[in-house]
């Protein structure tokens, strides 16, 4: 016989391989994670609460979605959903006047804004209110799309500011901060950026 019988393969290490695979899958499998747009609802005001202070019209950016899922901006221009973000950014970042006083300091101009400083648009990011009006018959998909774009506008602005101040985007900053909860300087930075562009987004009650 030219060839010897092939010796049986040693199966002793098979278990090791199996465990290796098992551990690999254990580590890499992500169970379906729940994701979504987080929002905070406004607190219910008591019946006898004083009227909220009137906002200047130029400081309110009204987006209306009607029951045919048409999107109307500022009550006059129809828009497709992908234009809203740029329009909202233009409004928030305008910086045409003095803002609300921060920490008791004198009202100041927005010195981090890159907007057109148009006196007919918002004064300051902390005064700029975005109001999303909807109809009961609006489809949820459109509503979420619009809301996504509006939240996205704030994220974009924060990214730009964070990039300028710290060299990394706000999204990355937030991620780093969440990964190192003990790092207070990262937390401070997140807070600062958030404070410069506070998210003031009101979801008005829908028209019947």
């Amino acid at each position: 016989m030219a060839k010897r019988d092939v010796p049986e393969i040693n199966a002793g290490s098979m278990a090791d391989i199996a465990f290796l695979l098992l551990i690999f899958f254990l580590v890499t499998t992500t169970m379906d994670v729940d994701t979504g747009i987080s929002r905070k609802l406004t607190e219910k005001q008591p019946e006898d609460a004083p009227e909220p202070p009137k906002l200047k019209e130029k400081n309110v950016f009204i987006v209306t979605v009607n029951r045919n899922n048409d999107i109307l901006v500022e009550g006059e221009t129809f828009m497709t959903v992908d234009k809203i973000r740029a329009e909202a950014i233009k409004f928030i970042d305008n910086g045409g006047g003095l803002g609300n006083p921060i920490d008791g300091a004198e009202p100041a101009e927005c010195d981090w804004c890159n907007g057109a400083k148009d006196p007919a648009s918002s004064d300051h990011p902390n005064k700029a209110v975005i109001s999303l009006e909807s109809d009961r018959g609006t489809s949820y998909g459109t509503y979420i799309s619009v809301q996504n774009e509006l939240v996205g506008a704030y994220t974009d602005l924060r990214n730009i500011l964070s990039e300028k101040m710290y060299g990394i985007s706000y999204v990355q900053l937030l991620k780093d901060s969440n990964n190192n909860p003990s790092n207070t300087s990262l937390k401070e930075r997140v807070k600062l950026i958030k404070g410069k562009y506070p998210q003031i987004l009101s979801e008005a009650e829908p028209t019947k």
């Binding site: 098992l22 994701t35 979420i144």
Partner: protein
Amino acid sequence: MSKFKKKKKGMPGISTASLPDIVFMLLFFFMVTTVMRETELKIRKPQLPKATEIKKLERKSLVSYIYVGKVEGQNGDKIQLNDRISDVKDVKYFVFAERETHPEDEIPLLTTSIKADIESNVGTITDIKEELRNVNALKINYSTLKGDIRDNVK
């Protein structure tokens, strides 16, 4: 011909000693990755909208779910709380029940995740939000998938 036969005879049988290991591995794998549905869906599985500005929901124990969608053969949006179709007025009892199961200091952290179908009416969602505001459950999350928002409109 005879040469051929001889070779065949020389082949050792494949050892099956590792078969149990493989089977156990598969078993473990499925055991680990299977997520048991806490609640059985009574409504048609909602087709969630897509969004880009999404956040992961951390600490699942703090999240309770409200499903909104259609029921086969019935008109209008239906709300499912736990394992049954409910009226919007039951949302507050649902929130109270959820609070009962958590220690006091975690109550402000409780989040309500709204898993609504893309074709639901905003009116239904607003009713739910109004109820949640009434009982001061203010943290909400519109459950979405990651994707292009243009897929939301058809």
